[in-house]
C-alpha cells in the first residue's frame, strides 16, 4: 500500500461519511420543520397521486424551468441527465459481476460525459453572457461549475488521452466497499479526478447542491391542494386553537 492509496482510502471514507451524514442532517431538518399553511402554487393537484405526478414532472423534466426559460432548461436538463447516465456507467466500478444493463450503458455513458461537458459549458457561459445572471452569480456558483467541468474533463481524459488501469481502480473501490482497502493505481490524472469527486462529496451538504433533496420538500410543489376538505395544521399552530 502506497501513501497515495492510504490517503485516497481515508479521503473516500471521510467524503462518504460527510456527504451522507450531512444529507441526513439536512433532510431531517426539512422533514422536521412543519409547513403551517397550505401554499401550493396553484393550479395544483387536489390528490396525493396528482402531487406525485407533479413532482415527477418537476424532477424528471424540470417542468417549471421549461416554462421559465428554454435555454436554462436545455443546458440544465442536458447536464443533469448526462450526469445521471455517467453515474450509472460508473456502477461498473462498484459491482462484481457488473449488471447487464450497466454493461449496455457503457457506450452511452461516454456520450453522457460529452453531453455533461456541453451542458455545463452552456450553464457557465450564461453566467458571463447574460447580464442578469452575471449579477446574481457568486464566486461559489462559478467554482461549482468549474469543479463539475474538471471532473468530467479529467474523466474523459482517462478514456481518450491517457488510459488508466481501470481494473486496478475497480479493485480499489471494491476493496473500499468490502472494508479491505486495496492499492490505487498511481496515475496523476486519476488522482486529480478522484480528488475532485471527493471534494464534490464534501461540499455537497453545505452548498446549494442541497437543491437536490430540497425540491422534494418544497411546499409549493409537494402539497395536496384540498384545504376546504381536510384541515391542515402544524403542531405549533394547533397550540393556538384553544386560545379563543
Amino acid at each position: 500500500m502506497t501513501v497515495a492509496s492510504i490517503t485516497f482510502s481515508v479521503l473516500f471514507y471521510l467524503a462518504f461519511a460527510v456527504c451522507a451524514g450531512g444529507l441526513v442532517v439536512a433532510v431531517a431538518r426539512y422533514a422536521r420543520v412543519p409547513a403551517p399553511l397550505k401554499i401550493p402554487t396553484t393550479p395544483a393537484p387536489a390528490t396525493r397521486i396528482g402531487v406525485i405526478a407533479r413532482m415527477a414532472r418537476e424532477v424528471f423534466f424540470f417542468e417549471s424551468l421549461f416554462k421559465a426559460n428554454l435555454w436554462i432548461w436545455f443546458f440544465g436538463w442536458i447536464f443533469h441527465f448526462a450526469l445521471l447516465v455517467v453515474l450509472l456507467r460508473h456502477l461498473r466500478y462498484f459491482t462484481q459481476p457488473v449488471w447487464s444493463w450497466v454493461v449496455m450503458l457503457q457506450p452511452i455513458g461516454i456520450l453522457g460525459a460529452l453531453a455533461m461537458v456541453a451542458g455545463l459549458t452552456g450553464l457557465w457561459a450564461r453566467r458571463f453572457l447574460v447580464e442578469r445572471i452575471r449579477y446574481i452569480s457568486t464566486p461559489s456558483d462559478h467554482l461549482m461549475l468549474v469543479l463539475l467541468l474538471l471532473i468530467a474533463l479529467s474523466g474523459l481524459a482517462m478514456k481518450f488521452v491517457v488510459h488508466t488501469d481501470v481494473v486496478g481502480v475497480k479493485a480499489f473501490f471494491l476493496g473500499l466497499l468490502r472494508l479491505e482497502p486495496q492499492p490505487l493505481p498511481a496515475d496523476p490524472l486519476l488522482f486529480v479526478h478522484l480528488s475532485l469527486v471527493a471534494g464534490l462529496m464534501l461540499v455537497f451538504p453545505f452548498s446549494k447542491l442541497l437543491h437536490a433533496p430540497g425540491v422534494f420538500f418544497s411546499p409549493t410543489r409537494n402539497q395536496v391542494n384540498n384545504p376546504r376538505e381536510a384541515r391542515h395544521q402544524a403542531a405549533w399552530a394547533a397550540a393556538l386553537d384553544g386560545k379563543r
Binding site: R29, Y30, V33, P34, A35, P36, L37, K38, I39, T41, T42, P43, A44, A46, E58, F62, S64, L65, K67, A68, N69, I72, G76, R126, V130, R132, I133, Y135, I136, S137, T138, P139, S140, D141, L143, F206, S207, K208, L210, H211, G214, V215, F217, S218, P219, T220, R221, N225, P227, R228, E229, A230, R231, H232, A234, A237, L240, D241, G242, R244
Partner: protein
C-alpha cells in the same frame, strides 16, 4: 406629493427584458408606522436597542416554524429562471427586484449566521453581515414585492419569494420597523371591523342608500341586509365594496344575484371586511385573529353558508388558510369550530367564492340575463394573482380560471382573452397588491403595472377592449389609479359582478 412627478415607463414594443439599472428604486419605501400603530397590534413602537440579536433570533424562529423558508433559503442555485418574471423588475429594471436578488438580501444573512459555509467562507458564498444599512434595504425591497407568486410558477424548486418577503416583513415588525399602511389597517380591522374604518351605523346607512339606488334604477326591492340573524348566507366582502368605485357596482351585483335566486343573505358589521392584511405582513397570529372575526360573526348570525366577495388575497386566505386558522371548512376539533360545522350546510363548499355561487346558479338555470345590456362593452379578464396562484375554485384545478370566465361569458356577448403569457397562472400582478396600495409607493405601482398595461393595450388596439374585469378589490383600486398614467380611462376596470349586475333579470 410625489404623484405629480410619477411618469409611466413607455410600453415596450416586443416585450424585451430591461437592462439592469442598479439602485433605480433604492429610495422607494413606504411610510414607517409610528409607535401607536405598532403597539396596537403588539409590535415594538420603535427600533429595539438589541435589534440585530433580535432580528437574527426571529429569523431562527421562523426557519424552525416554516419549512418553506428553510428549504427556500438552501435550495436556490442562482439559475436565473426567475430573473425576468417579476413585474416590478420589468417595470423598474432595478436588479434587486429580480426575485432571486430580493431573496438574496435575506439568504446572505442566512448563510452568514446559519450555515457552516457562510461562517467559514462568507465571500465565496455571498454571505453578509446583518447591518443597519441592510435592514433599510430589506425595508425598501421587501416593500417592492406584492407577494404575487409569479416567480414561484417558474422556479424549478418552487421557491416562492412571497414567503421570503413575508418573513422579511415579520422580522422587521419584530424589531420595531413596521409599515404604516398595512399595520394601521390591521389596527382598524380590530378596532372598527374593516380596513377602511367604516363604523356599523355608517355601513347601515350606505346599504340603505344602495337599496334606494337599485330601486330607483330597476324598480325592484333588492335588499342589502346587515347583521340579519338567521340568514342563509353570510357574505364577507372587501370593505371597498361598500363605497369605492367601481367596487360598489359588484356589491350591487351580489345583492341582485341573491335576490334573483331567492337566497336570504346578510352582511356583518363585525366581519365587514374580507381582506386580511395579516398575510401581507407574514404574521400568523394576526392572520388568525383577523380570520377569527369571520367565524364569530358566522356563529352569532347562525348562517348556513359563508361566501366571499370579489377580493384576491381575501380569497387566498379564505380558501387556503381559513380552515387551518379557525376551522372554517372540514375537520377542526375545537368547540367553536365544531359548533360552526354543525351549523354550516355540508351540501355547499365552505367557504364559497361569489363566482362559484353565481356560476352554480347559472348552471342550474336559476338566473336569467339580458346579455345585450352589456353590448356596449368589449370585455377582457385580468386574473388576480392570489386567486390564480394561491387558491382554487370549483372542482378542478383550472376552475379558478374557468369559473369567472364562464360567469362573464354568460352575461356579455363580447369577450376577448389577453395574450397567453399574461393570463391564468402566468398573470401579472396589478402592481398594487401585497400591502403596497398606498400613495407614497405610487411610482412603484405605476411602473409595476407596465406588463399588464402592455397586454391590455394590445387588446385595446386589436379588439377595441373597453372593459377589464377583475375579481379583486386591490386590482380595482390600483388600476383605477394607474390606468390614466398609461393614457386609459380609469373606468376601464370593473368587477365581474358589475357585469352580472348590468345583465341580470330581476323578478
Amino acid at each position: 406629493m410625489a404623484a405629480a412627478e410619477v411618469k409611466a415607463p413607455s410600453l415596450r414594443e416586443f416585450g424585451e427584458i430591461p437592462a439592469l439599472s442598479a439602485g433605480a428604486m433604492g429610495s422607494s419605501k413606504p411610510y414607517i408606522a409610528n409607535d401607536k400603530i405598532q403597539q396596537a397590534i403588539g409590535f415594538p413602537g420603535e427600533l429595539r436597542q438589541d435589534w440585530k440579536e433580535h432580528a437574527l433570533g426571529k429569523m431562527g424562529e421562523l426557519l424552525g416554524k416554516y419549512r418553506s423558508l428553510q428549504v427556500f433559503m438552501d435550495a436556490c442555485v442562482h439559475c436565473g429562471a426567475c430573473t425576468d418574471k417579476c413585474h416590478y423588475f420589468l417595470g423598474t429594471g432595478d436588479p434587486l427586484n429580480m426575485p432571486v436578488a430580493r431573496q438574496e438580501l435575506m439568504r446572505g444573512v442566512y448563510r452568514r449566521y446559519f450555515t457552516v459555509a457562510g461562517r467559514l467562507f462568507p465571500r465565496l458564498v455571498g454571505a453578509r453581515e446583518l447591518t443597519r444599512e441592510l435592514i433599510d434595504q430589506w425595508y425598501s425591497y421587501y416593500h417592492q414585492c406584492s407577494e404575487c407568486r409569479r416567480c414561484s410558477v417558474f422556479c424549478p424548486y418552487g421557491i416562492d419569494t412571497a414567503e421570503v418577503t413575508m418573513a422579511g416583513r415579520e422580522i422587521l415588525d419584530s424589531i420595531g420597523i413596521g409599515q404604516k399602511y398595512s399595520n394601521e389597517i390591521i389596527g382598524k380591522v380590530h378596532r372598527i371591523g374593516n380596513n377602511l374604518g367604516l363604523p356599523g351605523p355608517a355601513l347601515a346607512d350606505t346599504l340603505l342608500g344602495l337599496e334606494e339606488d337599485v330601486k330607483e334604477e330597476t324598480g325592484v326591492d333588492v335588499r342589502y341586509p346587515l347583521d340579519e340573524a338567521g340568514a342563509e348566507v353570510l357574505l364577507v366582502t372587501p370593505s371597498a365594496d361598500f363605497f369605492a368605485e367601481p367596487h360598489v357596482e359588484s356589491l350591487i351585483g351580489y345583492g341582485k344575484v341573491f335576490h334573483a335566486a331567492g337566497i336570504r343573505w346578510t352582511l356583518s358589521s363585525k366581519a365587514s371586511e374580507a381582506g386580511n392584511f395579516g398575510m401581507f405582513i407574514g404574521n400568523f397570529e394576526q392572520l388568525r385573529l383577523i380570520a377569527l372575526r369571520i367565524r364569530e360573526a358566522a356563529i352569532e348570525l347562525g348562517v348556513k353558508r359563508i361566501v366571499v366577495g370579489e377580493c384576491g388575497h381575501a380569497w387566498r386566505v379564505a380558501y387556503s388558510f381559513w380552515n387551518t386558522l379557525v376551522g372554517i371548512g372540514a375537520g377542526a376539533k375545537d368547540p367553536y369550530a365544531i359548533q360552526l360545522q354543525s351549523q354550516l350546510d355540508p351540501n355547499f363548499r365552505q367557504p364559497m367564492h361569489i363566482c362559484e355561487l353565481t356560476w352554480d346558479l347559472i348552471r342550474r338555470g336559476a338566473l336569467k340575463f339580458d346579455r345585450e345590456k352589456n353590448d356596449h362593452r368589449i370585455v377582457t379578464f385580468h386574473d388576480s394573482c392570489n386567486v390564480a396562484r394561491g387558491a382554487a375554485m370549483g372542482d378542478t384545478p383550472q376552475d379558478a380560471f374557468e369559473i369567472p370566465r364562464n360567469v362573464i361569458r354568460a352575461v356579455v356577448n363580447h369577450y376577448v382573452e389577453m395574450a397567453p403569457g399574461t393570463t391564468r397562472e402566468r398573470t401579472y400582478c396589478c402592481g398594487g397588491g401585497g400591502g403596497l396600495l398606498t400613495d407614497e409607493l405610487l411610482e412603484l405601482r405605476v411602473k409595476g403595472a407596465l406588463p399588464r398595461m402592455e397586454a391590455l393595450r394590445e387588446r385595446v388596439n386589436s379588439h377595441g377592449v373597453n372593459f377589464m374585469a377583475t375579481i379583486c378589490a386591490i386590482c380595482k383600486a390600483q388600476f383605477t389609479k394607474v390606468l390614466p398614467y398609461y393614457g386609459f380611462d380609469m373606468r376601464l376596470v370593473g368587477g365581474v359582478h358589475q357585469l352580472v349586475s348590468a345583465a341580470i333579470r330581476l323578478k
